[in-house]
Amino acid sequence: MAHGPAKGIGRWLFTTNHKDIGTLYLWFSFAMFLLGGSFAMIIRAELFEPGMQIIRPEFFNQMTTMHGLVMVFGAIMPAFVGLANWMIPMMIGAPDMALPRMNNLSFWILPFAFALMASTLFMEGGAPNFGWTFYAPLSTTYAPDTVNFFIFAVHIMGASSIMGSINIIATVLNMRAPGMTLMKMPMFVWTWLITAFLLIAVMPVLAGAVTMMLMDINFGTSFFDAAGGGDPVLFQHVFWFFGHPEVYIIILPAFGVISHIIPTFSRKPLFGYSSMVYATASIAFLSFIVWAHHMFLVGMPIGGELYFMYATMLIAIPTAAKVFNWISTMFRGSMTFETPMLFAIAFVILFTIGGFTGVMVAIAPADVQYHDSYFVVAHFHYVMVAGAVFSGTAAVYYWLPKWCGRMYDESMAKVQFWVSFVGFNVTFFPQHFLGLAGMPRRYADYALQFSDWNMVSSIGAFMYGASQLLFLFIVIRTIRSGTPVSEPKVWEGAEGLEWTLATPVPYHTFSTPPEVK
């Protein structure tokens, strides 16, 4: 029954193969990453000096909004879904995902949704300009007409995420090879299983929020409009009830990747497997009950504010445990520092720094000074870029040789790592200073005392952007002409079912389930 892939464009349009769909997701996410990145380049170019040099403030607001939306929903989430599609079936010894045709649909609606959203840049009224968090009434009563396209696009990509999550849960719960109990599953599978439940719980809430927006804008309801008895603050509660679990949705799969790479290059098993599983589950559970720490300044009564502060600080505990576990994995191992390991180590350091600033912003009275400033921008870029994006990059270097049977150029990749690392830190470390000095976020222009660090940050951004183009070059060159690799265990220290398969992996794998001891 198994045969090779179909030919031509039809292969990609109609594929139900998890490897092909994983590839589609990954290329799509990288294209979105470059799109969102070019919006960031425009932002940083404008912020290079005080004054409006390149664009007008109205367009700047479109750039910051689209940068956030494209990066969160178009780049980082699809990238990890792509990794999930590629790796989960192989890691559990399954031939494919549980619902292959729904898998195809989940992917193909994404380019449509993002083409729709990006096209608003060229429509009258311009693209969404109310921040990726789209608070009402700026996003309802005061929004451009294109907001309806934005809402439609959000619904579509939400549906994609929900379908993808259903697929992942159905696959992991029903299709593991005999002998693979839940507590024998690889960490990447565990983190995705938990993430998929989070997605199913909260993406519909986002859908609810944008539906309420749609109704307020077009059908005369007053969910968020005080005039009709509604409340703009209700929007924030509904949005952040989605929004906080969303950031854990972004980071948990990234944690999973690190839990594979560090043991491989330390040649030592992951330290504390069960506590890593429990920590991940605790983080996921806690993520539901801390949302209002994004709202410390809306005018919450003190009891609520204290509760959310305490609950938020709690999340630091399981997260710290994970960091300690990774370091304990490295400790007394036998380490080599190929590029995936470099990115994974950088993840541990820089994500931890982001975690520190996270604890700082959780302190509600101090948040009076941090909220809506560049300090918060620095915090979330540390956890999302040096966290999730570095982890995704590490995953590509780690698994690409397995996928295509060719090794990337290690020297060039190390250069790419260092340029990324330095570029990232030069961009975002000074943003802590800007926030502390009093510069708010989403500012198209700034007072003169903020000039110096803004210039430094912009220089770093151009450097980081260049390093991503280098990454693209390295990946394409590897696929086309990298040194062939044929060992199943591409990396000496790699363990797991996926490393028992031939390199490059065949189009169909585990048509017969393996035995797991």
């Binding site: 029903n174 859908a207 005080a226 009709g228 209700l234």
Partner: protein, 183 residues
């Protein structure tokens, strides 16, 4: 290929997702409103209050301030007649806001109340209020808008100043036929 267990999982998850969507749309807003009304969080005050025979607490005086804001491009003149009063808890007191429609077209307004500090909102009762209804005014007309309020005797001792603010919204477009009823 295992379809039955997969289908069972699929059905459960679809129901779960749909449930969360309906929860967000139909449970979260009313839950939020009820929570706000019961706790006074957000400064929301309730609807008309039925006076009980609790009597007046003359041992305490509470300062009540009045604040008025026009929302958006609302062009009416809208001010409290008096900036503050001092009342005893339990004592019904009248306050008046003045509104004038300065334009040359008939309009309808809605006043939305808000009480600060939020902890006082559940102890601030209105037995009559112009905010309970929409306010139509002809072009050039003005009106004295009354409210009667009582500060609950159980107002926490730590609260001595209450600020009642109204935001006035233009709801002319939302009101079908009401404008035609003027003159």
């Amino acid at each position: 290929m295992p379809t039955n267990p997969v289908r069972a999982t699929l059905v459960k998850l679809v129901v779960g997702a749909a449930g969360m969507f309906l929860f967000a749309l139909f449970v979260m807003p009313p839950l939020y409103d009820v929570f706000c009304e019961v706790t006074g969080i957000g400064g929301k005050t309730g609807s008309a209050y039925q006076v009980s025979e609790a009597g007046v607490d003359t041992s305490r005086t509470v300062k009540v301030q009045f604040v008025a804001t026009n929302n958006g491009a609302m062009p009416w003149e809208f001010t409290p007649k008096v900036y503050e009063v001092r009342v005893h808890p339990g004592e019904p007191t009248e306050a008046i806001f003045y509104a004038k429609n300065r334009t040359n077209r008939a309009m309808v307004a809605q006043a939305i109340p808000n009480v600060t500090p939020f902890g006082a909102a559940e102890y601030f009762h209105k037995t009559e209020c112009f905010c309970f209804n929409q306010q139509p005014l002809d072009a050039g007309s003005d009106a004295d808008l009354p409210l009667v309020f009582i500060v609950d005797r159980d107002l926490p001792k730590a609260i001595n100043t209450i600020t009642l603010s109204y935001t006035l919204f233009d709801v002319t477009d939302r009101v079908d036929g009401a404008v035609a009823q003027l003159n």
